[in-house]
Structures are given as C-alpha cells and as structure tokens.
C-alpha cells in the first residue's frame, strides 16, 4: 500500500511539474475565455442590432397585411415610387428598399430588395419569411379568421410527468434532467478518457522506453506499479480539469468586467444575453422536447446530494476502469507506435454504452437491456447515470458499483500480468500457455 502511494506521488508530481502540463493548464482557459469573449462580443452585436432599416414601397393592392418588424429588420412603409427611392436612398437613411410589385397572393414574384450594399443571406431569408408570414396571415384572415384567432393559433404544450412511488405518492419525474446529465456525463467521460487514458497508456510504456523496468519490477509488484500509475495519472487529469474550470471562470469574469467597463454596457445585460444563448444551446444540445423551465424544475426535483455522489462515483469509476484498459494496452506493447490499432476496440464499448444508454435506456429504463447495461462495468458508468433519475433499486445500484470496482481492480490485475509477461518475453512470441501460466503463478 505504502509503495502504491509512493508511485502515485511520483507519477502525479513528475507530471504536474512538467512545463508542458503547466503551459497547457494555463493556456487552455485563456483560449476558452477567448472564445467566451468572442461569444459575448457577437451576442452584444446582436442585441445592439446590426439592424437594417428597410423602406417598403408597396405597389400591391391585394397585400394589405403589414410586414412585422423584428430586431434585424425594421420596415417602414413609404409613399414614394421605386425610382424615387432608388435615387434618394443614400439621403433618406434607409439601408434597403423593398419593392413589392402587384402580384397575386398565390404566386408572389418580382419582389426586389435593393441597397447600396448587397443584402446578406440571413437578411434575405428574414425578409422572405416576413413576406411569407404576411401573405399567410392575410390568406387566413380572408378565410374568415380574426386577428385574435391568429394569436390563439400558437400554443405551448407542457406535460407534467409524474412517477407513482411505492407508497402511491406522486413523484416528479426528471427524465429531461437525467438525459442532460447523462449527455454531459457521457461527453465529459469521453473527453477524459480520450485525453488522459492515452496518458496512462504512455505512462505504462515509460518504464519500457526508459529501460528501468527491471529495477522497478525487482522493487515493487507489477500490480502496485500499475495501480499507482493509473491513479497517479488519473489524478493529474482531474487536477488539470478542475484547474481549467476554475481558471476559465476567473478569466471569464475578469474579461466580462473589463469589457463591460469599456463599453458602458451593464454586466447584467451582458450576462442576460449570454444566459439566453446558453439556454438556447442547452436546449439544442440536450432535449429539444423539454422547455428550459421544465429542465430546471426537474433538476430541482432530483435528490441532488445522492445524484451528485453517485454521479461522481460512476464518473470516477468509469474513468479509472477505462484507464486500466488503456494501461493493459500499454503493457502489451513495446512502443507507442504499436498502440494505435488498440485504441478503437477500447473505445468501442464506451461508444456502444453511450448510444444504447441514450436510446434504449431512456426509452425503457426498467427493461432487461437497461439492467444489463447498467451493471456491466464497460457500460455501467453511463447507463447508470441515465437510469438513476428514473429510480434504480438499491440492490442493482450496489451490484453495479461492486462490479465496477471489481472490474477496475481486475483490469489492473490483468494489465499487471500482461505487463509482467510482456517484459520477460523479449521479442519471443507470448504463447497462450505461457500467459495462462503467468496468470496462475502465485508468489
């Protein structure tokens, strides 16, 4: 145990002290903050409006419905002819002239948008949509609907999903929130495993390339070395990640302050704009079914402490488990160039678990597939995260956790055995018989 701690310490410190680690840890938040700054900039541009003033010259007697102005396009109806407007456009202060000729509502044509600058794609489609809406509204009114009927056409459907607990009590469901957590957890885990799993693998090859392997193996057991390496490097990953979050937060806040001070825009308006954007993004990324309010509500419904604890457990468990798989690859090969072919097979189960979790498990969180996916260590970290908010029986939770821990330790053990056999063969083909002999060898 003591030796494992020593190895963890070395693996951790030797990596954290590296220049490349420090540089990466410091620059990445700056890059993220830079993106963040750009997002602020552009969303503010959006608020202030690169708004286009459009003069409408309407020669169409049938289209009486007015175009509705929006943030990006303000329509002003003018009583001038098109040639007049063309001649005076620069003086009048309008950006564009929209010319609506006399067309039938069934076949609008001949519409022109003229300006000193050519109208961009988005303005073009904006205007086309507005005209289309106007025509549609007019047609609906002609068929007998009143304005208030038109307003009533828009409706927002919001279903409250509740689960009936064992006592018959209603419990708020949190399917939306769980999907978001599962998505986020899954993506996070992918990122982590991709970034740091490979580091674990490299770390395991380190002793071979430095030829220190015999000294190490004559001092510690391969299992201790493996365990120490995996945990040490996993901690490096976590450190970097946490630092990224903290530093990004600090830098972003600072950037926001400076920016807000310079432009005289209040911080709240900036953050409001950002919030709007983030919400939009979240909805797009996560469920497009659940409106924002519902997600927040269902998040609040979850037993947060339990969820977070379990989330952390499965996150760390999955991360360690997959790191151990990478360690096993590292112990089977002599150099990094040989590792490429093994990368995909290791990622496969995670990928499979991810896709299945988000399709099968969310559809049928209590089914057989869901059960097995959430119990087998290869997929359980993600599948269990998805299932959790639907309510998982304690025994299944316990089984899944125990199997994940055993899976991790077992993989480390297998990796260390492969490592031991791998070193000693020195170019000789590792026969299955020899492997089995090593696996069964007792000290």
């Amino acid at each position: 145990m003591n030796k494992i701690l020593l190895i963890i310490q070395r693996e951790y410190l030797s990596r954290v002290k590296k220049k490349s680690f420090i540089v990466m840890t410091l620059t990445t938040p700056m890059i993220i903050a830079g993106f963040y700054g750009m997002m602020i900039y552009f969303s503010l541009q959006g608020i202030k409006g690169s708004s286009n003033k459009i003069a409408v010259v309407n020669n169409n007697k049938t289209l009486t419905e007015k175009l509705i102005s929006s943030k990006n396009a303000t329509y002003t109806y003018v009583n001038k002819s098109l040639p007049q407007m063309k001649a005076e456009l620069a003086k009048t202060g309008y950006d564009y002239v929209l010319y609506l000729p006399g067309f039938s509502l069934d076949a609008p044509s001949g519409i022109q948008l003229l300006g000193t600058k050519q109208a961009g794609m988005s303005l073009n489609s904006r205007v086309a949509d507005d005209i289309g809406n106007a025509i549609r509204n007019q047609k609906l009114k002609q068929s007998g609907l009143a304005q208030k009927d038109l307003d009533n056409l828009k409706s927002s459907v919001d279903i409250d999903i509740k689960k009936i607990g064992e006592t018959g009590k209603e419990e708020d469901s949190s399917a939306g929130a769980s999907t978001i957590i599962a998505y986020a957890g899954g993506i996070l885990m992918f990122l982590f495993i991709l970034m740091y799993g490979i580091q674990v693998m490299r770390g395991v090859i380190e002793e071979k390339t430095n030829r220190i392997i015999e000294v190490m193996i004559s001092s510690v057991k391969p299992f201790q070395l493996m365990m120490g390496k995996i945990i040490g490097i996993a901690l490096v990953g976590l450190t970097q990640f946490i630092l990224w979050i903290v530093l990004t937060g600090i830098i972003s806040t600072a950037v926001l302050k400076i920016y807000a001070g310079k432009t005289g825009i209040t911080e709240t308006s900036v953050s409001a704009a950002l919030q709007q954007q983030n919400k939009d993004k979240m909805i797009k990324e996560a469920t497009d079914k659940s409106p924002v309010g519902n997600i927040q509500k269902s998040l609040a419904n979850l037993d947060l402490t339990k969820i977070i604890t379990l989330f952390l457990f499965f996150f760390l468990g999955g991360y360690l488990f997959y790191s151990a798989l990478y360690a096993a690859i590292g112990s089977a090969v002599d150099s990094e160039t040989e590792t490429q072919q093994f990368m995909f097979p290791v990622m496969m189960p995670l990928l499979l678990g991810y896709t299945l979790s988000l399709s099968v498990v969310t559809n049928d969180p209590y089914g057989n597939i869901a059960f097995w996916l959430s119990v087998i260590p290869f997929t359980s970290p993600i599948a269990m995260m998805v299932r959790l908010p639907y309510g998982v029986p304690d025994w299944q939770l316990a089984l899944s956790m125990v199997l994940l821990i055993l899976g991790f330790i077992g993989t480390v053990w297998v990796a260390s055995r492969i490592y031991r056999v791998g070193i000693l063969m020195y170019g000789k083909k590792t026969s299955l018989k020899e492997m089995i002999k090593w696996f069964t060898y007792k000290n």
């Binding site: 000294v215 193996i217 083909k429 000290n443």
Partner: protein, 301 residues
C-alpha cells in the same frame, strides 16, 4: 546464503536453464560466467523474482525465496535505465523508498553516497543530461543504497572509464568487507580473477563448471612452465623429464614452454637445466580464467 536447486526455465521453443544448481556462500563474491545467451540473465531474473522457474527452487538464507526477500537483494541489470526526465536526487530517493527506506533514512544515505562518489553537484540534474558513465554511477548507488545482503551485478563495469571502474571496484570490495554477498555476472575474465572467490560457468543452459577460483585454477594446472635462459640455442638440453611445447629464440635469449612429465617437479627441471644454461626466469604457467573459460566452452561445443 543462497542456493539454487535444480532450476529449469523453459521459454516457448528454448530451454534457458536446464537443471541448474549452485550455492553462493555468505560474504563471498560469486562469479556467474558464461557466453552470451547461456542463461545467466534468466537465472538472475529468477533470483530477483522477476520471473519464476518452471521447476526447482531458490533458497535464500534458509527460506524459500519469497517477496519479503526483495528488499534484501540489490540488482543492477545489464540493461541500464533510469527515468530520463527526472532529477537525479529525487529519483534515487524514490527508488530507495520503493525498497522500503524511510524518507529520512533514504535522504541520509543518498547524501552519503553522493558525497562519497563525488556526485553531489548532480542532485538537480536530469538523467538525460548526464554522460553514460555518470548514469552508471547513479545506477550503482541505486543498487546498493538499501544495504542489501545480496547484491547482483550484471556487467557492472561496462561503460566505465578505467578510473571510475577502479572506484566502483573498490566500493564493491568495501561492501564485501562489510558483509555483503555479491553475484557478479560478466564476460570480463580479468575482473573475475581480481574479485571473485568462486564461480559457476553456465553454457548452453547448463552449469558446466563451478567451484572456488583457486581450486579451479589448481585443477587446471598441468605442470607447465615458462623457462627463459641466455645461451646458444644449439645447446643440447637434457631430455627425459619434459616435453617442449613452444620454443622461441631472440637476441640470444631462448624462451621455452615446457610441460613436465608425470611426477616431475620444478626443482627437478631446474636441476637438469642449471648445469647447461644460464637461467633468467622460471614461471609456472597458471591457467587464467580466460583460458579455462575458452577451453571449457570450446570442448563442450
């Protein structure tokens, strides 16, 4: 101290050790000799518990070899290596602590050794910035730092210049005086003669010779002498008690290699030569370990 009993080690298509037994006595320097690929390294790896034998056993201080013995053995592998990117001081401390030393004890001993071998200024250097000889020195310190009872050195002098080789040799002898037992695997026969008390010769996976160096040499003495004298090469030598194996005459000096016949002694040789020639030198030809090595290996082939 250490006895290896009937060890067999089989790799896929190759038997690396075939029923090898040997005994290393407490406080001695034991030479493990053999041509390349004979199985020396395989045997060492079994003693250091990097691999296990297919059959046979190793007894360390009366106990069957087990993982508790790891910290009592120091091993300098032939394939040298250290963490290249790590600072020397930190690295040596780490490796010492892995052998079970406390931080304080490890620091004390590392300081002692660094001072002794004039490595003090290397503490903050990285291994990759050191010359090969310097790295070897660091590795030697790593091997002996935890005061192992048994120290196994695989080709310890390779990569050292003569000055450093001498320093390391003296350290080995001093550690030996303090009670450490050594197993010494090498091809350099002159260092075997200088250092080893006894040897085992392994060839083609089998032990073909073992015993105390003096005994083996004694065994290989065959009553052969170098004789050098002044005088005419035509001088008739009394024959009958020896055969001439080699004869060379230069600038009025004659050099002979003679083998005495059964039961004859050097004194009898002198007594027959003295009346006829002016003797300048008489040496017994004692076989070197090198000669014995080559002789044994060749005859087995």
């Amino acid at each position: 101290m250490l006895s290896v009993n009937n060890i067999v080690k089989q790799y896929a298509a190759h038997r690396a050790l075939d029923d090898v037994s040997l005994t290393v006595e407490q406080g001695k320097i034991f030479g493990l000799l053999g041509p390349n690929g004979a199985g020396k390294t395989s045997l060492i790896r079994i003693i250091t518990q990097i691999t296990a034998p297919d059959s046979g056993e190793v007894i360390f201080n009366g106990q069957r070899l087990n993982s508790n013995h790891i910290s009592r053995i120091g091993y300098l592998p032939e394939e040298r290596g250290l963490y290249k990117k790590m600072e020397i001081g930190e690295q040596v401390l780490y490796l010492a602590r892995l052998k079970g030393l406390s931080m304080a004890e490890a620091t004390k001993r590392v300081k002692y050794w660094f001072e002794k071998l004039e490595m003090g200024s290397w503490w903050n250097k990285k291994v990759e910035d050191l010359s090969k000889g310097m790295q070897q020195k660091v590795q030697f310190v790593v091997t002996v730092l935890h005061q192992p009872e048994l120290i196994i050195l695989d080709e310890p002098f390779s990569g050292f210049d003569p000055v450093n080789a001498e320093i390391i040799k003296n350290e080995i002898l001093e550690l030996n005086r303090q009670g450490a037992t050594f197993i010494f695997s090498t091809h350099r026969m002159e260092s075997v003669e200088e250092l080893c008390d006894s040897i085992a010769l392994i060839h083609r996976s089998r032990k073909i010779l073992d015993g105390a160096v003096e005994d083996i040499k004694e065994q290989y003495r065959n009553n052969t002498y170098w004789v050098e004298y002044e005088g005419d090469y035509n001088t008739e030598l009394p024959s009958g008690i020896f055969d001439i194996l080699y004869k060379d005459i230069k600038r009025g000096k004659t050099t002979l290699k003679v083998q005495l016949k059964e039961g004859q002694t050097s004194n009898q040789l002198l007594s027959v030569l003295l009346p006829v020639v002016n003797i300048q030198r008489l040496d017994e030809v004692i076989p070197t370990m090198n000669d014995i090595f080559i002789d044994k290996v060749k005859t087995k082939d």
